[in-house]
Amino acid sequence: MKRNFITVFALLAWMKAYPQNQPADSSGYEKRKLKIEEVNWVSGYYTQDGNNSAVTGGVGTEELTDFSNTVDLKLIKYGKDGVKNNLTIEVGLDNYTSASSDMIDLSANSSASSADNRFYPSLSYLRENDVKGQAVGGGLSFSSEYDYFSAGANIHFAKKSKNRNGEFTAKFQSFFDQVTMIKPIELRGGPGRRREPRNTYALSLSYSQIINPELQVVVLGDVITQKGYLGLPFHRVYFNNTSVRMENLPDTRLKIPLAVMASYFPGGRVIIKAYYRYYMDDWKISSHTFNLEIPIKVTPTFSLSPFGRMYVQQATEHFAGYGEYTIDETYYTSNYDLSAFNSNFVGLGLKYIPLRGIFGIKHFNAVEFRYGHYTKSTDMISDVISMHLKFK
């Protein structure tokens, strides 16, 4: 935490030392230096509890905490043709504790599996041509934790309509993951730990449209395919003959989520933002998600945003609870995240963007906090609190 503060304030000091407003050049030659556009620091603290852990076959504690931190630095440089080049460097670090992971060894107490760190750096580039109304870009991402490694790459294209009221966006992402096969302790044997691949390919398309000066909508759709080891080796499944195996799921999955989102600012102090998503996949999971957020502008620089989210899910055909499977099943999981349930998420956001900067610091542009409480019909509850500091 202390290190994050030092990093952000060092960047802030550097920005003050090299202000963005360059003196005018009488020669007519415009200097186009690489400069810092903004720095963002986002922290989140998440805690959950429940009694349906997949590590212990659908029974047992789900207690977990996760403290996440990301810092991103956005650099820009204008080309001679007026093209804006954006380079974003992001570094993230999570620290989590998990009581259920500790039960990979049922006799352990605070074993090596009870806590871990996840490190996830990424780099992205975007080239925006305002004259043509189009943008192209790409990026690389990595994520590493003790039993999981992911490397990703993506390309991005966006094109505005002639009247600049609509925009089409396409993004293709691929992730090449490696799952370390850490089995429940009673199921170990044979050669040492091996790794299994999990590849994900996702095409995301969206079209946003301004309807009138107060209303805009966006339609989003993804096609996501996964191939490889799609379960987790330390998830137990208990059968009706009291035998136990590690979770086994199909090695392919096709997911199709479709969504529409609208934001409406009728005037005064209130804005209405609504989101709906329908999701389906070939594991027979389907779901409906509805989200409503109503930002209220208390003053021109301070806003409150109450929000609520409802979610309803149909179970995968491969799910059953503790001791419910017969031994002749091909695929089986007791992961309640794939079961039938509904959930609610409610909370409040606060945003402050003073004209002269936070605490009078010119470049300390904005601060945002958000708290939410989540309840699942499987008796799982969680809370999340987040903070975003923006330096510009």
Binding site: V42, G44, Q48, D66, S68, S98, R118, S143, E145, Y148, G152, Q173, F175, D177, V179, T200, A202, S204, S206, Q209, I210, N212, P213, E214, Q216, V217, V218, I224, L232, L254, P257, L258, A259, A262, S263, F265, Y278, Y279, M280, W283, I285, S287, H288, T289, K297, S305, Y311, Q313, D337, L338, F345, K351, I353, E368, R370, K376, S382, V384, S386, H388
Partner: protein, 74 residues
Amino acid sequence: MIHISHRLYPLVLVIALLTSSCVSVKEFQKGKLNDSEMTLTNRKVEKAELSFQSYREGSSGANAGKVGGGCGCN
């Protein structure tokens, strides 16, 4: 195989009604649309909640965010 559910028909109808009633909005008329609260993408402060929702629920995607990579599956 996936087949499109009849439950999607209301969604298609809403989109069709909205897009058919568009008016051309000039740059100087976009004051409200350019308000920071009107953005149609996820905000950075939502990162933690979108992350846990994608792990604690069987669904993900169509929210202009990451659709894979990383585990976080405890």
